[in-house]
Amino acid sequence: MALDTRHKAALFAAAAAVRLLLFQAFPFLPDRLAGRVELSTPVSSFKRLQEGLYLYTHNVSPYDGGVYHQAPLLLPLFSLLPDASYYPFATNLVFTAVDLLSAHALAQIADSGHAAATRLFKSSRQGLRWSTAAIVACFLFNPFTLATCMARSTTSLTNLFILTAMAKACCGASATFLLAISAASYLAMHPILLFPPLLVLLYDTRTEKLKAAPNALAFTAVYTLGLILVCGTLLVVSAILSGSWEFLEATYGVRLLLPDLTPNVGLWWYFFTEMFDSFRDFFLGVFWLHVASYTPGLTIRLRTQPLFVATTLTGIFAIFTPYPSVADAALYLSLVPLFRHLFPLMRYTFLASAAVLYASFLGPAFYHLWVYAGSGNANFFYAITLVWSLGLSIIVGDSLFAALRDELDVQRPELRDKEVKRI
């Protein structure tokens, strides 16, 4: 089922053409989209990146002024490009390339077939799957991905590294896996929670490759050390580059402590505008622990399907992290088609897709009512982000149920296609 080169080239060319055409045909669109709260959060906005770039190229600390909250290493990278406000073509090209690279990684994941059949688990429906071309097309032509690309949100880069880490774990390429997962964690911090399930995935693929299981403890220790080493190097390089460690507070500190309450599609901002000051720290801790607590539980429970765990976690990130955007949902929604074999077992597909569609249309409308028309208030937008999160949580929960049901079918084939009840 592997994607042949001609098809792939055609698909990628079409995707690149669509993006570049949109960039060229609607020159106002990138800036318009970059200003949308649904696409640009304080930690991923391209406008803030430009502000940081301006300060950086004028030899001022980019974190002065408290606008820029992104990783310091993005600055030298983007300062190589011509100024995006006058010559946007190069930047557009970079973001198009990022999407194509992500699609390439996604194709690798799909080709590996780890979604339905891992070392320890073979789904009874593993024949039921979409072609790689369809999955890649689902990613490349997904309106959410397109919008993210047009808004030039740096979440695209995080997504690229997450997808690459998954792909490399599926292929058993350990060094590139470490680099990719470290880069993703370095850029956005929360992807580090993907490390345990992806490590399990890597362990499985290494075992298959070597035809013998390596020592699990030593394996974990080596890769954890590797992760610490790579992340540490990235941080030290950043510190050297920006001249001080203040970037830690401005980047990870902002993600941890949520000082910027700009609205976004997540659940945190509204909650923390209403929070009593004295309980703010406590609930920040609770919210972060809530996000983190899924990783060990899911990894242990679905030990046999690590790719599914990683996918579910990206879905949870899209709902429960402090600054989620549509880009995070785009990543999750592009990974879900890998699990075509679970679709027959899912029960609320209509409800979930309806909720997501409903929210994607009404969200911008309600935001407009609140901020521009003044005929609504913050509750309008917050209500719609609740619906959005509800839609995503239904998909997450439903797919989890389907995965467990699928597992049961393998364990007890006689129960296949029968109604089950939780006891």
Partner: protein, 539 residues
Amino acid sequence: MASSGNEEQKQPPPETKQSLWLRRAVIASFWAVVAFLGLPVWYKTTAIYRADLPLQDMTAWANGQVCKPVFPLHIAVQAPLLAQDAHHLLHATQQTLDDLSDFPAHQLHLAFAEPPPPANASQQVTADGSGPADLDDTVALSVRLIPVETGVTPRSQLQPFSATLDVYYQLSQIPTQSSTSSPLTTFIAHELHQLYAQERVRLSSLYSDAASQSKSLSPELTAQLQRDATRAFKYAPTYHLTFSLFTPTSSPSAWDIETALRQYMNPILESFAGISNFTIDTQVQLYANFSPSIRQPEYDENTKAWTIFKEDVSGFINAAEWPLSPSIGQGPTINFALYVPDEVQSPLFVKGSRDNSWLVPQWGGVMILNAQSHETTLTKEALVPAMQVFSTQLSSLLGLPQTPASLPLRISTLTRIHATSLLFSASSTLGALAQVYQKMPTIPVPDTVAKSVNLSLAHLRQTCESLRDGRFQDALQNARTADGEAEKAFFERSMVGQVYFPDEHKVAVYLPLLGPVAVPLIMAALKEVKAGIAALKGR
């Protein structure tokens, strides 16, 4: 499905060991997050920091158990007498004084001083032998005994601008060794007692306020005290004085206020320098009209003068239009308004009298200046009456006692009164803070509060010591710092945030979010524990 409906209720097959342990591991992983990360986060983020406060000390000060302020006034007596005679005279006078005393905290100590006092004051022989060696700082009053041949004797005269009481006597009035009292000793004792009468009353009223001792004061004295108290500003380390010239026309448009202030106001401000600091600004306001609520001045044929009604005096200052801002800079503002009436309405007085100035309690003073010549500039000489009135008004606005006639004596009285009242006020503030600390265990208390409290206590101790040693100026300085620090500690802003947040509200904060999360966690854990116990029993 269809087939299962017909079959009998089938028991599900027992769980495999593997899936059982898997489930336990999952539940344990969630609980591990709660226990090893959640609880420390909860503890760390909701802990209320409460700095240790010396509560017992604070309460003891508030109850007046630590310090009973005493006011030992050292009075130096200069007499052209032999040491033995002088000693006897002092002894006899002291005894009479002690007999007269009705307020034990206020003590007058007589000491013999050599005629040229400052030169060798350190070699004093004091009456009771316990006086401080250095009398220069602490001498409250010098009594000069001057022998005369003529006139009524004994008689006394108080120097208005120095703390000196001259007593004129005849040589025959010196008490003999045998007699215990003589007209001279009785006279001096009564004079001194009388001199400090008002101070005693005011200090003892402070005492009774603080310790709620009922002292029998004469009603008219109480009334006067009350009047003085309502007039005077609350004590502040810095006052701002605003001198304003108002005129309903375009003239006078300038006044020689700077030289006038320098010449007539600076001396009194300098004598107050030990008590408070002053900042001054001045302004001129032309075309300043009366407020519409008061009646326009009327011409009185009898006195050939324009008059305003007595009832309108309170509304004379047009607060809405005249630029008299309530407070500029630090400290309260004392306003002095000089009103120069229109030429056609001059002279202007308050009806029924020829009064042209009045005092507005806790605000300032007003004077109508009926100038002889209507020129555009008020000269320094023209301002002399105004300056005299304003300095008198300033004295009573600052709470300066009316008697005795000597200004230094009155100022030192004021020093003692302020030191004492600040001491009491700081003590009671600290007591209140201690109460708040004990009654509200949920409010955070930052370290700055503890620091201020300790500083305040240290200065209170020094105040008390200074008072005991008779160094009243030091006492005032220390009491001022103590009171400032106590207020700072009490009104610390970060403490009040939690005051209106009772513990019950925490349930409302925690439950809505943590409840739904906690219920499945706890139920799952309970179920596992139950199953575990059952398995153990079954074995």
